[in-house]
Amino acid sequence: MIRLEHVQKTYRTDRIETVALTDIDLDVEKGAFLSIMGPSGCGKSTLLNLMGLLDRPSEGTVRLDGEAVASWEDKRLARLRNQRIGFIFQSFHLIPDLQVVDNVEIPLLYRSSSAGERRRTALAAIERVGLGSRAHHFPSQLSGGQQQRVAVARAIVGRPDLLLADEPTGNLDSHMGDEIMDLLEELNQEHGTAVVMVTHDERLAGRTQRTVRLFDGRQVA
């Protein structure tokens, strides 16, 4: 489904050039469940951003369904991010001034659907992550685990083919981490959603089909 070929990512400022990723080759197939591991700063999040079309590689090619995305215009990339990719961030990135249901609705705002339909779909996604009773709470009224579940609901509300999770359990205790992991497994197994998860936790990585290991921006396994 998504394929990275000889991908390199370099961050440049006036004085410093930092190579974040070097010569990455990775293929994520439909229904796959991958984990990405490696020490902090090894390029895991950068890799996830490239797969999620949130960033562009400095060299190499990112292909979606066999087509190189480099030349795609913003409108097409935005549509793909909206309809085919769901992103879960380590720091949740919830909008604090919006209720849970409004946060979850955000991806649907960029589709053509009625307000009622959006609301029903968002509430269904919130039910799915077990937060039905919290739909009208603000993020600040929720625990960290609940906030991450809201982020999961927001990522799955648009029924994406690919779910990219950047340390989704990084800010949670092990119990809440397991709950989120169960949810990701369920999505992968019941709906065939491909999941790529960055984690530091060997135990969680062990529950995925395959683990990609990075070190200093290079793929070592």
């Binding site: 950068t46 951003n49 999620g52 949130l54 960033d55 562009r56 913003d74 409108k75 935005a78 549509r79 991010r81 909206n82 309809q83 992103f87 961030f89 990135h93 909008i95 001034d97 919006l98 409004d102 609705e105 955000i106 991806p107 705002l109 960029y110 589709r111 307000a115 927001r154 648009g158």
Partner: protein, 407 residues
């Protein structure tokens, strides 16, 4: 999406209050500047009631003061036929003051229950021809009014509106009584009767920015028993088009030969008009200050919006990660800014709509208030939209991944 934005704006009301306040200040400053401009423009575009083209004013002085009617008016009676006989003079008239002279004579007249301030002006029988004045109805006064016992006058429409109950005003008599102290003690009751013989649309001799108000042009007596009501101090000469400036000396010499006790100063009314408008140049100073103030407000607004958007770059990055296009993000920032502008200008509009009720700003008549309100709202919206352009560009120039890491 509109509902989503409204919810977002409402939930961030305390954070948006600063931007809203800035927009409100911009709106109020704009309104003040535009109301002043609309006030003067409204006066400027209204009819003057006369045409200064090819008219020369001859101001007559006796020493440094206005000459007494008893001394001047009989001389004026001799000047007028003499001047009319001169080439290239087409016609001549006498007035209390030359147009564009910033002098005035105001009184309060009452008719029945009605009472109004009236601006008075003395003008001789041919003033209408010299100044190209057009009557709406009635006639100009003339020799047929001699011996009627009532002073004939031509008034403007505002006079009729203010003092005439019904009808077109023609034939309306205005009675004016004064108690003058007598030298030996006691008082003398002076009763004057004036009658409207003609109505003009407007007459504003002081110039384009004179306030339109009830005005009356009275017929002064040139000979016989003269009083303070008959003051004159200027002659107006309608010249043939293209009359050279050298005529000034010829006319001056002729008048001096007839009445050496007076001095005469000639000036084309068009030159007097130019001088009058140049005297308005100091008005440019507050206009420049207002423009500078607006620039400061615009820069402040850009700064506040820039800060507000910068604080939200991560949120905007998230929206892009969830499928918003760059154009959509820019539209969102613009829409939020415009909704905030709408809220601030509505509040500002409600505030300024109260001003006429306070009675402190009589200039805020509908012809000033409504255009100023509409323009101030439109310009504020334009200003805030322009001010939002840079922050929206700033918010979308980075890739979503970078925006999500923004500190």
């Amino acid at each position: 999406m509109t509902r989503h934005l409204l919810k977002l704006l409402w939930n961030r009301r305390s954070a948006n209050a600063l931007v809203g306040l800035e927009v409100l200040v911009a709106f109020l400053v704009l309104f003040a500047v535009l109301a002043a401009a609309a006030h003067y423009w409204d006066y400027y575009r209204r009819p003057l009631g006369f045409d200064p083209t090819d008219v020369w004013a001859v101001e007559i002085e006796a020493g440094t003061d206005m000459a007494e009617p008893s001394a001047l008016n009989p001389a004026v009676a001799r000047f007028l036929p003499e001047l009319r006989s001169m080439e290239p003079v087409v016609d001549a008239a006498a007035t209390i003051w030359a147009p564009y002279r910033q002098a005035g004579w105001t009184t309060t007249w009452s008719v029945g229950e009605r009472s109004s301030d009236v601006r008075l002006f003395n003008g001789s029988d041919t003033l209408d021809r010299v100044l190209g004045m057009e009557l709406l109805r009635g006639r100009w006064f003339g020799p047929e009014d001699d011996g009627s016992g009532r002073t004939p006058m031509v008034v403007n429409e505002a006079f009729v509106d203010a003092l005439v109950d019904d009808g077109d005003g023609l034939g309306q008599v205005i009675v004016d009584e004064d108690r003058n102290p007598l030298p030996g003690g006691g008082e003398e009751l002076v009763r004057r009767e004036r009658v409207i013989v003609g109505v003009v649309e407007e007459f504003r001799p002081k110039g384009e920015l004179q306030k339109p108000e009830p005005s009356a042009i009275l017929r002064p007596r040139l000979e016989g028993e003269l009083s303070n009501d008959d003051y004159l101090s200027a002659l107006l000469l309608k010249m043939r088009p293209g009359t050279p400036a050298t005529i000034e000396q010829t006319v001056n010499d002729r008048l001096l030969s007839m009445a050496p006790e007076f001095s005469f100063r000639l000036q084309p009314l068009e030159a007097a008009r130019t001088e009058y408008l140049q005297r308005l140049t100091p008005l440019l100073v507050p206009a420049l200050i207002a423009a500078f103030l607006l620039l400061m407000v615009a820069l402040g607004l850009t700064g506040v919006l820039w800060q507000a958007v910068t604080q939200r770059i991560r949120e905007l990055g998230l929206r892009r990660a969830k499928g918003a296009t760059l154009a959509r993000i820019r539209r969102q920032i613009l829409a939020e800014t415009l909704l905030l502008t709408l809220a601030a200008t509505t509040l500002g509009g409600l505030l300024v709509l109260q001003l006429p009720f306070t009675g402190w700003f009589p200039q805020l008549r509908p012809a000033v208030l409504i255009p100023a309100l509409v323009l101030a709202t439109a310009v504020t919206a334009l200003l805030t939209s322009l001010a939002a352009l840079y922050p929206s560009w700033l918010a979308t120039r980075v890739e979503p991944a970078e925006a999500l890491r923004w500190e």
